[in-house]
């Protein structure tokens, strides 16, 4: 392994420290959910629907039950009276929507290809798989709805029959809260469009694609009459899962413990919802009095989760002839799938996508409306770039189309319209707290000589080669303040951490979130080491166990560096205040925390550096020898701190890429990719680089390759990695990540969370580069994915 660089400036903050967790992960010592084996453990396999929409006429389980080793086979009818249906209040956003009622197993009918119809539990996984194949289900088919626009037509076949149409959610995001205010706003927007020099109107379509974590889902539940339920779940939000299980299974609150395994093979949002599978496994473990485990197959995973994007945006933009953006109008239609997952219900993602539509640009006015349709597809699950991958593709393409129309450099048009000063509240009401968009942009542009590139482009065209450059920008939530997360997901936004010092001078940190590979153990250790002047290896971090960690809403929405790390830091400061008070008392001086420096394992008096005590000695003294204490002080060194930022926070990025397109085949090659990031103060640049590379690659993979395909019968045709192609290393360009950070004023360390939205500036940048290359053909890309065949067809059409 590469040696670690030394810390800089007496602080581990900003060090490229190799990740503490990597040694065990790359040497096979990680402990994932499948590595947890309990005595008497049973294995569960779901029987899933091969129809997209059908009544369940009958289920014959006799052949499955007859197989030796099978313990039981349960169906929806077996469990309706034994547990509560979803939704339950803890799983509902504070948003008005037509929430479907559903059970862990389908009752009465199936609504998508892959829906769980029955559960087989056996003493052996292989027996369970064999038995699942013997369950015979008779269906009576119902009309299938796979097109979101058709789903919203009057008289379309109903999917969730507890409601009178397929529109699960709709909202107007601009102008105010009443109909009269919306109407007045829409009229003003219309006036701007009537009087504008230039307008564009386009239907932008982004396909269904998302995330495929390396480790699919899993649940292991153990029941004991004395201690209740212990559930290991691959999850990003164990504390919310715990509350949901308590409510759904009516188990006393002190009898449920949820543990997200320390090692999880990625989340990316996919493991953030509360899933129906959790409930039935927990229920069966209680009912059978034996541990029950379900490990999702890749096939099931691709059928059920990781599906997002999938929107149509009818977007209009008005601008002046000299390139000032004036107004935007959008009618979004999102394809929700069934809506059967807790917390998000599918539509919360397109909801945020609409909120984030204005992106980094100033608009005088906007008229943004969204309708979300239920269809016979798997429910959308969050995938990094939560909801706004399609809207950002649309807005970034629209900006270029305006530039093409008025003959302006797209980069100049962007800079002219970037929000010049923060804080700023967008036309859809999103608060941008701090940073400097223009500085980040100018840093990006310092990596390209536009005049020279245009010369090269002209020269290439004269040789029949087509090269182009494309830009994209993105503003992302950096964590979510309670004032955002409570209405959006009915959950608190604060970050929480407990820091406990050991008498030997090491630190234990406990957090209620549940990371899946982001490097929390390393980032936490760097913060603690910097705070106490100790070494990073002297900190051990525990996350994800509801029995030992303070409440957290989960590893979601870029809450790591923004909220959780801030709580860790503040807890360290609280402990340092106590150490300083007791040390001053022991030294017989009048001093507070500011008078001491924690460095190199010592606590040093700043005014006389010969006065010092080793960190370990003072910690041991306070914990083990709490006598002769200052008045009112007691022993022990532990603090639990909840951190809530004063304002919702953001981070920001801008990208460009260059491409060369082969006009004879439509194939294209990305020749350069450069990004400029404002991520605030960086805890570990190695980890941030990794986040950025991963996010850009994910954006490219979604844009170029990945696509979940349903045919007109609702059959999901992409349930393996042969048919659902994701990018591999050879498909990807070199990526140059550059930084232009401004410290966040609302976090104690100036950090910003970065894990969420980054991929969504990618499809716009890449499409813009291809359109720039093909400008002589006048091609404007409005649909993803970007396949060579589709580009070739557009070239042919333009020449016809």
């Amino acid at each position: 392994m590469a040696s670690n660089p030394q810390k800089t400036n007496d602080s581990w903050m900003g060090s490229r420290l190799a990740r503490k967790e990597d040694l065990r992960l790359v040497t096979g010592q990680g402990k994932y959910i499948s590595d947890i084996v309990l005595p008497r453990m049973l294995h569960a396999v779901f029987v899933r629907s091969d129809r997209a929409h059908a009544k369940i006429v009958s289920i014959d389980t006799s052949a499955a039950l007859a197989l030796p080793g099978v313990v039981c086979v349960v169906t929806g009818d077996d469990i309706v009276d034994e547990l509560r249906s979803m939704p339950q209040p803890v799983l509902l956003p504070n948003l008005p929507a037509k929430y479907p009622t559903f059970y862990p197993l389908c009752v009465g009918k199936v609504k998508f290809h892959g829906a769980p119809v029955a559960l087989v539990i056996a003493r052996d996984k292989y027996v369970a798989e064999d038995a699942a194949e013997l369950v015979e289900i008779e269906y009576e088919e119902l009309p299938v709805v796979v097109d979101p626009e058709a789903a919203l037509e009057p008289g379309a076949p109903l999917i969730n029959e507890d409601h009178d149409d397929n529109e699960i959610f709709s909202m107007t995001f601009t102008g105010g809260t009443t109909q009269a205010e919306h109407d007045a706003n829409d009229k003003e927007v219309e006036e701007i469009f009537q009087n504008a020099d230039v307008t564009i109107k386009e239907r932008f379509r982004v396909h269904r694609t998302g995330l495929t974590p390396m480790e699919p889902r899993g649940v292991l539940c153990d029941w004991s009459d004395s201690d209740g339920l212990t559930a290991w779940i691959t999850t990003q939000r164990p504390h919310i899962d715990r509350l949901a299980i308590i409510d759904l299974l009516d188990i006393p609150a002190d009898k449920v413990r949820v543990i997200a395994p320390r090692d999880q093979g990625g989340g990316f949002g996919v493991k953030a919802p509360f899933f129906r599978e959790n409930v039935i496994i927990a229920h069966m473990a209680r009912k059978l009095g034996q541990p029950v485990r379900w490990i999702e197959s890749r096939y099931e995973s691709l059928m059920n989760v990781g599906q997002e994007r999938d929107q149509i945006n009818y977007l209009e933009v008005a601008a002046t002839q000299d390139g000032k953006l004036l107004a935007l109008r959008n009618r979004g239609i999102a394809d929700n799938g069934t809506g059967e997952t807790g917390v998000y219900w599918g539509f919360v993602m397109p909801f945020l996508g609409a909120v984030e539509l204005p992106n980094t640009y100033t608009w005088d006015k906007a008229d943004v409306k969204l309708r979300v349709a239920v269809t016979n597809k798997a429910c959308l699950t969050p995938s990094r770039a939560f909801g706004h991958f399609p809207t950002r593709f649309a807005i970034e393409r629209a900006v270029d189309m305006i530039a093409h129309k008025i003959g302006m450099e797209p980069s100049d048009l962007r800079r002219k319209n970037l929000i010049p000063h923060l804080p700023y509240t967008s036309t859809t009401g999103e608060y941008y707290d701090s940073g400097d968009f223009v500085q980040v942009w100018d840093n990006l542009m310092s990596h390209i000589d536009m005049a020279k590139f245009r010369e090269e482009q002209q020269a290439a065209r004269s040789e029949g080669r087509y090269i182009g450059i494309g830009f994209g920008t993105g503003v992302e939530l950096s964590g979510m303040a309670s004032e955002v997360l409570v209405p959006m997901e009915n959950q608190p936004g604060y970050g929480a951490a407990s820091v406990r010092l050991d008498p030997r001078g090491t630190a234990l940190v406990f957090g209620g979130d549940a990371p899946g590979g982001q490097g929390h153990e390393t980032s936490v250790a760097q913060i603690v080491a910097s705070a106490f002047g100790i070494e990073p290896q002297d900190t051990v971090t525990t996350t994800g166990d509801t029995a030992t960690t303070p409440f957290g809403s989960g590893t979601i929405g870029a809450r790591g560096a923004s909220y959780f790390m801030s709580a860790v830091h503040n807890a360290c400061v609280e402990i340092k205040v106590k150490i300083a008070r007791i040390l001053a008392h022991d030294l017989g001086i009048s001093a507070t925390l500011d008078d001491f420096e924690f460095v190199d394992g010592q606590v040093v008096l700043r005014s006389d550096r010969s006065v010092k005590k080793s960190f370990r000695d003072i910690v041991e003294r306070i914990i083990m020898h709490p006598i002769n204490m200052p008045p009112g002080e007691v022993g022990g060194l532990e603090a639990t701190v909840y951190f809530e930022a004063a304002k919702p926070m953001i981070c920001f990025n801008a990208d460009f890429c260059t491409v060369e397109v082969d006009i004879h085949s439509g194939e294209f090659k990305i020749t350069k990719w450069v990004s400029s990031e404002d991520v605030g103060n960086v805890i570990n640049p190695l980890i941030v680089d990794g986040q950025m590379h991963g996010a850009i690659v994910q954006g490219l993979s979604n844009t170029m390759f990945e696509e979940f395909i349903y045919n007109d019968q609702g059959q999901q045709l992409t349930a393996d990695f042969e048919n659902y192609k994701i990018a591999n290393a050879a498909d990807m360009p070199d990526i140059e990540v550059t930084y232009s950070p401004s410290p966040c004023p609302h976090t104690p360390l100036g950090t910003r969370g970065i894990g969420e939205g980054r991929p969504s500036s990618v499809p716009g940048a890449l499409s813009n580069a291809i359109c720039d290359a093909l400008l002589p053909f006048g091609i404007e890309i409005t649909e993803l994915p970007l396949r060579p065949g589709a580009i070739w067809k557009k070239i042919q059409e333009s020449q016809a």
Binding site: D50, R51, H113, A132, E133, E136, N711, Q713, Q715, Q716, L717, T718, A719, D720, N723
Partner: protein, 155 residues
């Protein structure tokens, strides 16, 4: 999946049409047919083993003949369940035309497949269907000429 083809069969139209309604001949001609029973003049139950791509499935289902115009045409409507492999629904229109002493048989198949069959075998359905149809009519003609079916399996 849609498939349409014409085949010239060396027999008169009456003989061909009768054979198309003859359970014993159909049973021998259908590749992978394990059972075929008439439950009425126009209804059958069938068990057929097929291999499509990586999947081998035993389909059980019903076939009904509708719009029967003897000795000219009928439409065969069938639905088969292949257990964990998925399911298939099929509608086949068969039309016969005299061509001297032989008969021109035209068929149009529209099939919907679902489940793993559609997912894993999707790309192979069309070619497999063509192959199976070819085997069927090869057998069918051989049987009409008093010979034994040549190919019995789809593998």
């Amino acid at each position: 999946m849609e498939l349409a083809e014409e085949i010239r069969i060396n027999a008169t139209r009456d003989i061909v049409f009768a054979a198309l309604n003859n359970v014993e001949i159909l049973k021998q001609a259908i590749p992978g047919c394990e059972a075929l029973e008439a439950t009425s003049a126009t209804e059958f139950t069938a068990t057929v083993v097929s291999k499509i791509g990586p999947l081998k499935a035993r389909f059980t289902g019903n076939v009904t003949l509708v719009d029967v115009i003897a000795p000219q045409s009928y439409t065969m409507v069938g639905e088969g369940k292949g257990g964990p492999a998925g399911f298939a629904k099929m509608r086949t229109f068969v039309h016969l035309t005299d061509e001297g002493e032989s008969t021109l048989l035209r068929y149009e198949v529209k099939a919907d497949i679902g489940g793993k069959l559609a997912q894993l075998g999707g790309a192979l359905i069309s070619s497999t269907s063509k192959k199976l149809a070819g085997i069927f009519f090869g057998n069918f003609e051989a049987l009409l000429n008093g010979e034994r079916a040549i190919e019995r399996s789809s593998e």
